[in-house]
């Protein structure tokens, strides 16, 4: 699994590539924690290149999202599709996290 | 006697109830405290037993793992040839009789660059050590995939396997300790192979199953997965897990307990087996292998001693209560028995018999005092009744004598009417009704000479015997002096002087004395303090005006005046005493002179007896039941005129 980050106009764009499973979930969490520690508060997570997510991945996302919320930050999802979307929906994550069909629209929301 | 019974019953009930309650309370407390103490001690006791057993097990296991570790270290430090390796393994086996087999297996190409797999294993067989080349023992998979190799390889540390039945030498329960060893040259750690040592668990399980606790208590050993390794129920060994059993009993507490044991916790719990028996279990982990050792104490055996003691105490208490009841009955009876006989005696006494034998006081206590007081009371009652009887008898005697005296006295007054039937010149009638006590009223009439009749009425002061005696004296004197002297004023003064001479008692009498000349109808009269009589003529009835002299008796030399009236034929003189005019009704009102006058007006005057009877009945009617306080005495005389000359 690979994580690519780029600073967007209004927040940090985190692209997750590959699989977010029990093995790779901790990497994701670590990366986000360091970003939060660096002072980032606005996040857009781009799931376009994510093929697979399991409960470990969901857990990592939830844990980091709570941390962001604790710092009065905001985190939104973009390009959630396919199996990943299915898993999101089943676990109710669809209603917790705002999801957008593009990074751009996500970025505009996160600004507000 | 219902009363006595209830004292005894009440005492017994109260005392035995109280004692029973107190005893039951004490016994109950004793039992619960003993139980609590025992349980408390039990935990410490159980822990010690469990720990000591666990230590035994650990020691055996640790000794084996130490040996294996020794081999592993030696393999790490230096490279061994095949011969050296085999020698090492053989000597390990020889030096440790507890170890059943020992071996080494190498990672691919770790022993020799030529042979991929290499492993040597020696085990005991018929007193000799038997060699097995592990690379030849494929079974399903090469040794690389066997648990005892893979697990320590994965974990990077030593591992004891789940117990299993070994194939060499029959079905012996075994466990294998496997230890990875590494090559630390070139900076980082590479796994070179795994050392394994097998031990038979027979002696351990034998040790544990031979543990005896109370009667049916036991020790048991469970594997990491809850599999039963040692248990008094031999069928369960390696067949049942703790969790199976919990499942089959639908016992969630057991399952939770199993989880705790698997987690390596220790604790002291009470659980109930399906047959309802309560058992205390202490469980502790065998740290080396992750197994769990438990010791079980059946509660009822534990408490047996306490229960027996309590039963004995209860029996003793019960016996004691019975004896107490008997003692209470005995003492209560000692109180109620004399009471009962006193009651019986009282009833006899109440019926009048005072000579009944009283029970003797047997004890010096309150009951004895009561009996003595009773005795004293009976004696004084007897005395009192005797006195009363005597007094009453005496009183009755006096009364009867008085009655006799009254009769005598009444009989002394002339009572035959008409007294002089042949003398037609006058008619005379008198009556005296005595009051309750002997009184002092009297009347008299007697002829002084042929033509003069003297009549008188008198009232002696006071009542009773003295008055009666005085009356007797006065009457006698008046008659004797009257017959001698013939003149009322002289009669009175003479009798007065005689009476006054011996008058220590200050008695006196009122007297009205008169004489009637039958030829002329002249009446001479004198009065000593007596109430004036009434004169009844054809025209009128009036009180006679009388110049009263002093009463007879107290003073000598009294002077009496005589007065005279003339009776026409048909005129009547009515003499009376104050018993008539002073008769009281229940309202204490006096009859009075006016009423007397009125009554005389209305009285029948056919004859004197009717007249007097009429007045008497009128007075009695007025009295209306009030007691007669004074004698009622009346005398009436009617002049008929002189007798024809013959």
């Amino acid at each position: 699994m690979e994580i690519q980050t780029s600073k967007g106009s209004t927040g940090m764009v985190v692209s997750v590539i590959g699989k977010l499973d029990a093995v790779t979930a901790s990497d994701y969490e670590q990366k986000l924690n360091s970003l939060i520690a660096d002072g980032e508060t606005k996040f857009v997570v781009d799931f376009e290149k994510l093929d697979y997510i399991s409960s470990a991945g969901l857990r990592a996302i939830l844990a980091t999202a709570k941390r962001i919320k604790a710092k009065s930050g905001k985190i939104v999802m973009a390009n959630v599709s396919g199996t990943v979307k299915e898993v999101f929906d089943i676990s109710g994550f669809g209603s917790i996290f705002p999801m957008y069909s593009s990074v751009a629209s996500a970025l505009t929301t996160v600004a507000g | 006697m219902p009363e006595s019974k209830s004292i005894v019953t009440r005492l017994i009930l109260v005392i035995t109830l109280f004692c029973a309650t107190i005893f039951a309370g004490t016994l109950g407390y004793n039992y619960t405290r003993s139980r609590a103490i025992l349980e408390h001690e039990l935990e410490a006791n159980a822990r010690n037993q469990a720990l000591s057993l666990a230590n035994r097990v650990e020691r055996e296991l640790v000794s084996v793992s130490k040996v294996a570790e020794g081999v592993a270290r030696s393999l790490e430090t230096s490279k061994h040839t095949e011969a050296e390796l085999c020698g090492l393994l053989r000597s390990t086996l020889a030096a440790n009789p507890g170890i059943y087999g020992s071996g080494v297996a190498y990672e691919p190409y770790a022993f020799s660059r030529v042979e991929r797999l290499y492993g040597r294993y020696y085990h005991r067989e018929d007193g000799k050590s038997n060699l097995i080349r592990l690379e030849d023992s494929y079974k399903e998979l090469p040794y690389l995939y066997w648990d005892w190799y893979q697990i320590p390889r994965e974990l990077g540390k030593s591992e004891w396997s789940e117990p299993y039945f070994g194939e060499g030498g029959g079905k012996i329960l075994m466990s294998t300790c496997s230890i990875p060893f590494y090559d630390t040259t070139a900076g980082d750690k590479h796994l070179r192979g795994v050392v394994a040592a097998d031990i038979s668990l027979e002696s351990l399980t034998e040790l544990i199953s031979s543990v005896r606790i109370l009667k049916t208590g036991y020790a048991a050993l469970y594997s990491r997965n809850g599999m039963i390794l040692s248990h008094p129920q031999k069928e369960a060994v390696m067949n049942e897990t703790f969790f199976n059993i919990a499942e089959s009993r639908h016992d969630t507490t057991l399952r939770e307990l199993g989880k705790k044991m698997v987690r390596g916790e220790s604790g002291f719990v009470l659980y109930t087996s399906p047959d309802g028996a309560r058992n205390w279990m202490y469980y502790t982990p065998i740290r080396t292998t992750g197994w769990t050792l438990s010791v079980v104490f059946p509660e009822n055996e534990l408490l047996e001693n306490v229960r027996n003691l309590s039963m004995t105490m209860a029996a003793m208490g019960f016996g004691g209560l019975i004896m107490l009841s008997l003692a209470v009955v005995y003492i209560a009876r000692s109180i109620t028995r004399p009471l009962r006989s006193l009651v019986a005696v009282t009833e006899i006494m109440a019926s009048g018999n005072f000579d009944v034998e009283l029970p003797r006081a047997r004890s010096n206590d309150e009951v004895g005092t009561l009996t003595n007081s009773f005795q004293a009371m009976a004696t004084s009652l007897k005395e009192y009744v005797r006195n009363l009887t005597e007094t009453t008898a005496a009183k009755e005697r006096i009364e009867s004598e008085l009655n006799l005296a009254t009769d005598i006295q009444a009989s002394l007054l002339p009572r035959i009417f008409p007294p002089f039937p042949n003398r037609k010149e006058f008619e005379i009638y008198a009556s005296m009704d005595p009051a309750k006590e002997v009184g002092g009223d009297f009347y008299d009439y007697f002829f002084i000479d042929d033509h003069k009749i003297c009549f008188l009425i008198a009232d002696v002061a006071d009542k009773g015997v003295p008055a009666a005696l005085y009356m007797m004296v006065a009457k006698t004197l008046l008659k004797s002096e009257g017959q001698r002297l013939g003149k009322p004023e002289l009669i009175l003064s003479c009798v007065n002087n005689i009476l006054a001479a011996d008058n220590d008692s200050c008695m006196f009498a009122t007297v009205f004395c008169a004489t009637l000349d039958t030829r002329s109808g002249e009446v001479h009269f004198a009065s000593a303090g007596h109430n004036p009589p009434l004169l009844m003529t054809s025209q009128e009835i009036r009180y006679l005006a009388v110049r009263n002299g002093v009463v007879l008796g107290p003073m000598p030399d009294a002077v009496y005046n005589s007065e005279t009236i003339l009776l026409e034929p048909g005129d009547t003189l009515f003499l009376y005493t104050d018993g008539v005019s002073e008769a009281k009704n229940p309202e204490q009102q006096l009859y009075g002179e006016a009423r007397l006058l009125q009554a005389l007006h209305e009285a029948p005057n056919e004859n004197l007896s009717d007249l007097i009877r009429h007045i008497r009945s009128e007075v009695q009617r007025y009295a209306n039941g009030a007691p007669q306080s004074d004698d009622i005495t009346m005398l009436a005389i009617t002049y008929r005129g002189s007798a024809p000359e013959d």
Partner: protein, 139 residues
């Protein structure tokens, strides 16, 4: 014609997850399951395996084996271990209606297993925990 049964065993360690995923990939391909459902099955198997790694062998590790069989219209997977009795399906479901603040971090694994497979069942036999997952191949 009976399809072959494919089996694999490994130690119950998270590191072996890739092997497991590979194995399931192979089975699913052979069975002709469509991509989404295959993904779902993958997730389910991962959840089961992770739970075994976490709970079945406390303080140690042990073997896990997966057997895949095409039985009629279904693809049947059996995941078994010899650890302590443990039924992953009995873990309580999370409350999916809660919002971010209330949501608990854990509890999703077993829920996903049940939701992503057509049928999931557990039995314990001969000292082994056996989790059976069934996917219908058609539909």
């Amino acid at each position: 014609m009976m399809a072959p049964i494919r089996t694999m065993t490994c130690m119950a360690r998270i590191g072996k997850l890739a092997e497991i995923e590979q194995f399931v990939d192979g089975c699913a391909e052979q069975s002709g399951l469509d991509a989404t459902r295959m993904s779902g099955l993958q997730v389910a198997v991962e959840e089961a395996f992770v739970n075994i790694c976490n709970y079945a062998y406390p303080n140690t590790t042990g073997r896990v084996s997966i057997t895949a069989e095409a039985a009629g219209e279904d693809l049947v997977l059996e995941i078994s271990d010899h650890g302590i009795p443990f039924n992953v399906l009995l873990l309580p479901d999370p409350d999916t209606s809660q919002d971010i603040h209330e949501r608990e971090v854990g509890g999703l694994g077993c829920y996903l297993i049940r939701k992503l497979t057509d049928k999931a069942s557990y039995r314990r036999k001969n000292g082994a925990n056996i989790l059976t997952l069934v996917m219908h191949r058609s539909s």
